[in-house]
């Protein structure tokens, strides 16, 4: 039942025998998970299977009931909603919690990276959904986290914006190189972004897939859909 920053290791995140329960209802039981340094992991699983619960445990937002969670430093989180403070300008939002003398410059750089470098003093209410989520990304990355947790950050965006966001996230992760856990319902999103794709079921990691050059994306896609219980069984048989 411990949670401590891991020492410098090959694995940035080590979760062993994690147990999470809401009252009597056990949601996660004896879950094991490792995420390497700079590794991008996507987490799929049907609604209500406990993905958010796992992510919140990694973020240290909820107490755990058993096992251990090791994460590097303080993870950054991007939620499904942007959660921008409406009373602060964009650069103030981005630097929330950042202790640095050159906060504004860093905000400028981070906002520049997400294509909003000219909106430092603008208000969140003047942003579109996609822009707001980009600011949330900047806010997470400006902290230079070793672990980035993303809980369906693009679910509320339209398909076109989502594709643009995929490109942006790929770029940002390549540049800053944090370990990342992306919770998503979008199988294609997982394939496009992740080094490794996990499928959660009944409170544990039930399946693991690796997108690779050799494996055809459509085959992987079918595999994943089947693992999620929505693939055609006849086709598989």
């Amino acid at each position: 039942m411990s949670r401590q920053p891991s020492a410098f290791h090959k694995s940035a995140v080590v979760v062993s025998n994690l147990r999470r329960a809401y009252g009597d209802r056990i949601v996660i039981d004896r879950l094991n998970l490792r995420i390497g340094e700079g590794e991008f992991v996507a987490l799929l699983g049907e609604s209500g299977c406990g993905k958010t619960t796992l992510l919140r445990a990694l973020a240290g937002l909820d107490p755990i009931q058993g096992g251990s969670v090791e994460v590097p430093g303080r993870p950054a989180v991007v939620f499904q909603e942007h959660r921008l403070l409406p009373w602060d300008t964009l650069w103030r939002n981005v630097t929330l919690g950042l202790r640095a003398a050159d906060a504004r410059e860093r905000a400028a750089a981070a906002l520049g990276e997400v294509g909003l470098g000219d909106r430092l003093d603008d208000w969140p209410r003047n942003l579109s959904g996609g822009q707001a989520q980009r600011v949330a990304l900047a806010r997470a990355l400006v902290q230079e986290p070793k672990l980035l947790l993303l809980d369906e950050p693009f679910a509320a965006l339209d398909a076109l914006t989502r594709i643009r966001m995929h490109g942006l996230v790929k770029d940002l992760v390549a540049r800053h190189h944090p370990g990342a856990l992306l919770v998503t319902h979008d199988v294609d999103e997982a394939i496009r972004l992740a080094d490794r794709i996990l499928v959660m079921r009944k409170g544990v990691i039930a399946d693991e897939h690796r997108p690779s050059a050799e494996k055809d994306a459509s085959v992987l896609r079918a595999d994943l859909l089947r693992a999620l219980g929505v693939g055609s069984e006849r086709e598989a048989a």
């Binding site: 973020a59 937002l61 303080r74 950054a76 989180v77 939620f79 909603e81 959660r83 403070l85 409406p86 009373w87 602060d88 929330l96 919690g97 950042l98 208000w123 209410r125 003047n126 806010r139 902290q143």
Partner: protein
């Protein structure tokens, strides 16, 4: 193009509204709304001048203006006004400070809520002006009585709206604060206070109104200076012009206080679509 139009025509059609007519109507209405009080004022002036209203019942507006000028020149008016304003300010600072501090405490801590809230709510059930006789027994009719009454009237609205505002802060934003590693003080300063600010300022607005009411009542009873004293002193000599002047000044200060609160809202809530000046 024509086919699209036809589809629309089958359903609801949106004909352009003749906007010129609307603008004219608006202006006319505005004019009427100002004409009515102006006409009443003129009527009052005329009736007072030609003796239909006895001057000691209701002085002419021009007489009130003249009195205002005379009292200003002699310095009496400014003196009494500043005495009243000082009382209001001190009472507001004390009552507002206590209400705000308690409100923050109760808003943030369940324990503080258990200790404080029920008692405060019970005391609040008393119309605070009903306490006046008791307050006079405690403090006499000096400054303390007046300041106490104002502070009492101010404390409750500020307290209630502060606790309410803090409760209404989006828990998701507080969680975000934790994720971003904010300390307790930073969390309060960056998230809880700004989130509660619309409600707090509503409290300030309410409390300005109560402060003023409390002051009028307190000053009417045994004051040696202040607007209320000015009016009560004038009563002895049937100087209704001075009384009416005092009433008008009370009204003006009430309006001033309200604009002050609005100004505060515009400054502090400029991020808020309902308050701030829209770009």
């Amino acid at each position: 193009m024509s086919s699209t139009l036809q589809i629309v025509a089958e359903g609801t059609s949106y004909a352009p509204v003749p906007s010129a007519r609307i603008r004219l109507g608006k202006n006319a209405l505005l004019l009427i709304s100002w004409l009515v009080p102006a006409a009443l004022l003129v009527l009052w002036e005329v009736l007072a001048r030609f003796g239909s209203i006895e001057p000691h019942v209701m002085p002419a507006p021009s007489k009130v203006l003249a009195t205002a000028y005379n009292l200003t020149v002699s310095g009496t008016l400014l003196h009494d006004l500043s005495v009243s304003l000082l009382r209001a300010a001190i009472g507001f600072a004390i009552g507002g400070g206590i209400g705000f501090a308690l409100g923050i405490l109760v808003g943030l801590s369940r324990l503080a809520e258990a200790v404080v809230d029920r008692t405060v709510q019970m005391v609040r059930a008393i119309p605070f002006l009903a306490l006046l006789p008791l307050v006079i027994v405690w403090f006499g009719v000096g400054e303390a009585q007046k300041i106490f009454l104002v502070a009492l009237g101010v404390a409750f609205p500020i307290y209630i709206n502060t606790t309410l505002g803090i409760r209404q802060v989006d828990p998701k934003l507080i969680e975000l604060g934790r994720v971003q590693g904010l300390g307790t003080w930073e969390l309060i300063r960056r998230i809880i206070l700004p989130g509660a600010m619309p409600s707090i300022l509503t409290g300030v607005r309410f409390s300005l109104a109560t402060a003023w009411l409390a002051l009028v009542v307190a000053e009417t009873i045994g004051a040696q200076a202040g607007l209320g004293f000015l009016a009560m002193d004038a009563r002895e000599f049937l100087r209704t012009d001075i009384i009416v002047l005092a009433i008008v000044i009370y009204a003006l200060i009430g309006v001033g206080a309200d604009s002050l609160a609005r100004l505060l809202e515009r400054r502090l809530l400029k991020w808020h679509p309902n308050y701030g000046a829209r770009p």
